[in-house]
């Protein structure tokens, strides 16, 4: 798969003439604080047009999806360091890999794009649906003059923590409290990262 090296604003607004119908709505997704996969599955449903009762499988009817704040998308667990994207260049032995963190540093939009693209059905409409998906790392986008509709994510059911996770979390909380008590007064206010919680 071709990896884009950096985010280009002109590329993000290009290719609009190839999309035929403009009876489509423009839905805006805010990725800030959303979990990657859950957001991607909702985007995939909307881009396919499966939330409309006029869905036809041989015709691409999905809405235009704009995703903002792609650099603020979250993952749970240890995926920040442990999720690896692999791709093979075609030459023998050239299996390349890149971790989630590096990919976010290089081009945060690719993360969401890969996630959504891999959730779409592998048929001839996939490329057209890819063209309807526009992702931006920040909140700036060149589509300000269009009639945009924000998409409200469905409420998420977070499962209860398992006992081992809960004990680990309590241990880390106690450690953080002890550190806080030590830091107060003697050391400079060094900002500690909040411990990663598994949801």
């Amino acid at each position: 798969m071709k990896m884009v090296n950096a985010f280009n604003m002109k590329r993000a607004a290009a290719g609009l003439r190839r999309i035929n119908l403009d009876g489509l709505r423009w839905r805006v997704f805010d990725a800030k604080g959303q979990v990657l996969g859950r957001l991607a599955s909702q985007i995939a449903t909307v881009v396919q047009g499966k939330d409309k009762p006029t869905y036809t499988p041989n015709r691409d009817d999905g809405d235009m999806c704009i995703v903002l704040n792609a650099k603020d998308v979250c993952v749970t667990g240890r995926k920040l360091t442990d999720k690896v994207y692999y791709w093979h260049t075609g030459y023998v032995g050239h299996l390349k890999e890149r971790t989630f963190k590096d990919q976010m540093a290089k081009d945060p939009t690719e993360v969401i794009r890969k996630a959504v693209l891999r959730m779409l059905p592998r048929n001839k409409l996939r490329d057209d649906r890819d063209r309807k998906l526009r992702i931006f790392p920040g909140s700036e986008h060149p589509f300000g003059d269009r009639p945009l509709e924000p998409y409200v994510m469905p409420p998420r059911r977070v499962r209860e923590m398992r006992p081992r996770e809960r004990r680990a979390m309590i241990r880390e909380q106690k450690k953080a409290e002890l550190q806080q008590q030590n830091n107060d007064g003697t050391k400079k206010g060094k900002k500690r990262e909040a411990p990663e919680e598994s949801a």
Binding site: P53, V75, R157
Partner: protein, 121 residues
């Protein structure tokens, strides 16, 4: 005589399959087998498409397909999926009335939603 029939059935095939009898005969046999199988598959595919459309229509009103159909069964409304999908496409107000009937009959078993905890990046 048979050759003419075969070529007539082989119209629109790719490459030599529409011109040369030996290849056309094989392709036409396969095509007839596929059409036999697909006359039965079409009924399944159409029902699946109706169900997808009804699902999309009801989710716009906050109910999913399973709960909707259960509510209709409870009220003994025997509209089939074909009609329901047509209603959801072309008659939105009637469809909303049906969704309300179903919601009255079977409110669904939604669990309590815990507000999600944010995970820092």
């Amino acid at each position: 005589m048979n050759k003419d029939k075969i070529f007539k059935l082989a119209k629109g095939f790719r490459g030599r399959a529409k011109n040369c009898i030996r290849i056309a005969r094989e392709r036409v046999e396969k095509a007839l087998q596929y059409s036999y199988r697909d006359r039965r598959n079409k009924k399944r595919d159409m029902r699946s498409l109706w169900i997808q459309r009804i699902n999309a229509g009801t989710r716009q009103h906050g109910v999913n397909y399973g709960n909707f159909m259960h509510g209709l069964m409870k009220e003994n409304i025997q509209l089939n999926r074909k009609v329901l999908s047509e209603l959801s496409m072309h008659e939105p107000y009637s469809f909303k009335a049906l969704v309300d009937i179903s919601k009255n009959a079977f409110p669904g078993n939604k669990n309590v939603v815990i507000p999600p905890r944010k995970v820092a990046v």
